[in-house]
């Protein structure tokens, strides 16, 4: 079971904590909002991803389980 990051763009206020904790998957655009890598989370990043999810002040970031293909 792979995992994938998903941001709710309505809830996101561009605090940027996620990109600081998970720069491998999240970059910040010129307005301060996160650009999420849509690919499944590579092995080894799960702990960092969970930290990023927990750090979001508006609870906009989620980790979704995606069925294996």
């Amino acid at each position: 079971m792979a995992e994938q990051l998903l941001v709710n763009p309505i809830d996101c206020e561009g605090h940027g904590a996620c990109a600081e904790l998970l720069p491998e998957m999240i970059t910040i655009d010129e307005w301060g909002y996160p650009i999420i890598d849509p690919r499944p989370l590579p092995p080894g990043l799960e702990r960092h991803a969970r930290k990023a999810v927990n750090a979001c002040p508006t609870l906009a970031l989620r980790l979704l389980r995606t069925p294996d293909r």
Partner: protein, 452 residues
């Protein structure tokens, strides 16, 4: 008033055979623009054929199966297979033991389109039949028909009259409520409709869960465009094979289209899927830089010569990156500037952002401003690169497709009007007429009340 013709080619006897029995939805051409009352409707189409959820005795298969065989897709723009939505709602209702709702979407918030208002005005009973049959097919106890709050015709008044006729005839099993979506670009978006009908503002919400699973009042909810429901009402009467007598094998049936010709004439017409676009564009002057807008303000500009080689079906249009959408085909008059027209429409789209998602809230005004600079000859080196970059940056990053559709529209203008943009950068413009051509509402949302 918008000119309406029920069959575009009734003046062309040679092509009549290829069009089969069109128009199917709109009243016959000879009856003109008179709305069909219940008696005229039933005389033309026959009685409303209710079925049980599992198929009534003597009727093999349920409506679901017939709709699947017909290959009916949503006519609101997305062309999603109708039977799959019906099946998703049924499944969610069974799984969660909830009674579904059905919403007929006649909000038609795209300013360039007038086909849903025309259908509701001329043939309200066909839509209301489809709403009843869809409600029966998914076992819904709630049926709501949503219209656009601000149309030239009193569509809502026409529908109230139609519902009274049906009540007197004891036709409807599920009572139909009428609602009006505010005159905003995004108010007809599925999640915005559900949000509004649930008591919130008419702005999109974030999925998942899908509204087929959890929509109005958390019940499984079927949202179908009003034209889709009208087709459904005819498929229930005449069957899938009849439906497939026109259209292409992959995209069967007919569809309503809004045609805005370069001479300023607008017609609402019913055409088979797969009709060559050159038949819709009509004659009229075309130059090497003539252009056609397909699909409205979330659609695409194409050079007229390229468009003329395509046909009105997604299989053909996708070769050019375009889609049938809700059937909007607009020819740019040769005396207008495509950049000026696009900049005006994009300014409107930027104002119509619900302002909920950061990339859309920030990106669309910047895109609109840069495009206005380019259109008015005030651009600097790099303006076009900025437009491309921002268009890429906003795409796929909203809760709804407003940023994606706007970016597609802008990029297609930069491609199609590239020579014109060169001219603008040298301080020239080829337009001899700057009167606005594309219909763009003047009002923009200023406060949250405008979304209610």
């Amino acid at each position: 008033m918008t000119a309406t013709t029920a069959g575009a080619f009734h003046d062309d006897a040679g092509r009549a055979a290829a069009l089969g029995d069109l128009p199917r939805l709109l009243p016959p051409v000879q009856e003109g623009k008179r709305p069909q009352n219940l008696a005229a409707h039933l005389a033309r189409h026959g009685n409303l054929p209710y079925r049980d959820r599992t198929g009534s005795p003597g009727t093999p298969g349920s409506l679901l199966k017939e709709v699947a065989e017909a290959g009916l897709t949503g006519r609101g723009g997305a062309a999603f297979p109708v039977h799959r939505k019906l099946a998703a709602v049924l499944e969610a209702a069974d799984k969660r033991s909830r009674t579904p709702s059905v919403i007929a979407n006649g909000a038609e918030s795209e300013p360039a389109s007038d086909k849903d208002a025309t259908l509701l005005w001329l043939a309200p009973h066909l839509v209301l039949d489809g709403l009843q049959l869809a409600a029966e097919a998914v076992g819904a106890d709630t049926a709501i028909l949503v219209t656009h709050a601000d149309r030239e015709h009193d569509v809502a008044g026409r529908l109230r009259q139609a519902l009274q006729e049906r009540q007197a005839a004891r036709l409807d099993r599920v009572p139909v409520q009428l609602a009006a979506a505010p005159a905003r670009f995004l108010s007809g978006q599925e999640t915005a409709l559900v949000n509004q009908l649930g008591g919130g503002p008419a702005i999109p919400t974030f999925m998942p869960p899908r509204i087929t699973e959890r929509g109005l009042n958390a019940n499984p909810t079927l949202v179908q465009n009003v034209e889709t429901l009208a087709h459904l009402a005819l498929i229930a009467r005449r069957g899938p094979r009849w439906f497939r007598e026109v259209g292409t094998a992959r995209e069967p049936g007919s569809m309503l289209a809004t045609i805005r010709r370069a001479d300023g004439r607008t017609l609402i017409t019913e055409v088979p899927l797969g009709l060559p676009l050159r038949d819709l564009l009509g004659g009229g002057p075309t130059g090497p830089e003539s252009a056609v807008l397909l699909g409205g303000y979330h659609g695409m500009w194409l050079p007229a010569a390229q468009a003329a080689a395509l046909s009105l079906d997604n299989e053909s249009l996708e070769s050019a990156g375009a889609r049938v959408g809700a059937g909007i085909v607009i020819s740019l008059p040769p005396d207008r500037c495509g950049l000026i027209e696009t900049a005006r429409a994009v300014r409107y789209l930027a104002f119509e952002s619900a302002g909920q998602c950061g990339p859309c809230l920030n990106g669309l005004p910047r895109i609109a401003a840069a495009l206005a600079d380019l259109a008015s000859g005030r651009s600097r080196p790099g303006t076009r690169e900025d437009l491309e970059r921002w268009s890429g940056l906003v795409t796929g990053r909203g809760a709804c497709h407003h940023p994606d559709g706007t970016a597609r529209f802008v990029r297609s203008a930069l491609r199609t009007f590239a020579h014109e943009a060169d001219r603008h950068e040298r301080g020239r413009c080829s337009a001899t007429n700057t009167a606005p051509f594309l219909p763009v509402p003047a009002a923009a949302a200023r406060s949250e009340d405008d979304w209610m």
